[in-house]
Subunit: 188 residues, 3 copies
């Protein structure tokens, strides 16, 4: 379940990267790099700060290929799609809530204090998109819309609350992600 | 003593972050994030590069709350204060010299070579403010004023010199910070 | 051999940093900082992400002095030199291919999967120059020219291929770097 969600999230983030990079006429190596930084950067930063080695993609390099593949496919298909802006924001929001839950889950498994668990979710959820925006020279979504980092905090808090009340893991994940996603969508 | 100084420095840095973020109309989550990055980012970068785990705020999450609290209070009070620019520069200089001494102290305790100890002071002192400037899209103070990184080097060198001569720890800290602060103030 | 190449590469990267910083009227501390970040930043990022501690310059602080020295000398000499732009690009390309091979070599020695070895070469080769461009507020070369990261991938793949075929280490290094350099030069 967590694995399925993870693959969905890196695919979604890779697609946002391809859409952002596409607006700047980058070549395919550039698109792949931006996609990997966006999809795997948040998790890498979290692992490095928490000293949680080896980082995910060093142990599972196949995620690098999934990410690059999703990005290149998106770059090919993008010119014939419409409403790219709302697709971009929707995928970005999906990546945000899924990564937040995964980040909380990992820090939780390391027995870290609850504040650090929430920060871990926030870093995993927000940092990749932020790096994408910095590399593409866009104003970071994080600093533009007020309900972005807040969505991550709410999602993480709901997930931890549900876990604390002894709810089923999958239920806690789906529930907190659904609320977070709805919250983000309302803000747009 | 070191702890008292540390709390003063993160409070000062959090306040500079609130002042910088306030100029850009961020909401309170944004202000808290910028404050934590500014106040704790330099130390985190130092710990990650030196492999000094766990990083400070993972072990003491209360520092995250102090930082966010100081920033939000400052954001509330700022509109009724005058001469914000000089308060900003003064607080930033205070954070710079205190963090420099703390960074030197930590690397010193790890028995690292003296060049690395000075660099550790510089990273701890300068990196947080630099990240703040990058996130807020200001031109980094570090690259604008010539006597910024130099202040950190001088403060660190004086502190290590005083320690080498066998002076009392508290005296070495206070002395080197006072000279560094005077030096920075003269440069403005 | 690897050591000689390493010293050549950090010198070359330090010189590019001095040329870039010189265009912005930085003082000598600023130039030294930019030079160290450019020459040692890629390797530091690689070591931190791979958990390969201690990072190079913590164990060998003399590299910091070589870097700063090369940068300051370049800053002194630059005003009387001509054709700075092509010297800059040539030195940058040299640093790129040498660091790529070194990065692959280190990850290879840690028995990491081949995709990670190539990424390690790319991070070591490209990240320093990218940090330089971000700090100096230039548009990163990486995102501007299409044959930049690609040069790193080609150089790394040739090196690994040659090693896999059982060629002599020095021969593999020289050969892959020569092809990579030629490739980059053709792209300009």
């Amino acid at each position: 379940m967590l694995l399925v969600l993870y693959v969905i999230a890196i695919t979604a983030e890779a697609m946002t990267a391809a859409l952002a990079a596409g607006r700047r006429d980058m070549d395919w190596v550039g698109v792949s790099i931006i996609a990997c930084v966006t999809a795997l950067g948040g998790g890498t930063l979290r692992d490095v700060v928490l000293g949680h080695y080896p980082v995910t993609w060093v142990r599972h390099p196949e995620y690098l290929w999934i990410t690059a593949g999703a990005a290149l496919l998106t770059a090919l298909v993008a010119p014939i799609m419409r409403r790219l802006r709302s697709i971009f924001l929707w995928l970005d929001a999906l990546g945000l809530v899924v990564f937040t839950v995964i980040g909380c889950q990992i820090a939780s498994g390391m027995q870290l204090p609850i504040t650090v668990v929430l920060i871990s979710g926030m870093v995993t959820g927000c940092a990749g998109g932020m790096l994408r925006d910095i590399l593409c020279n866009d104003i970071p979504l994080l600093l533009r819309k007020e309900l972005y980092a807040s969505v991550s905090v709410v999602t993480g808090a709901l997930f931890l609350g549900a876990q604390h009340l002894g709810l089923n893991l999958n239920l806690s994940m789906i529930g907190s992600m659904a609320v977070g996603l709805a919250f983000r969508m309302l803000a747009l």
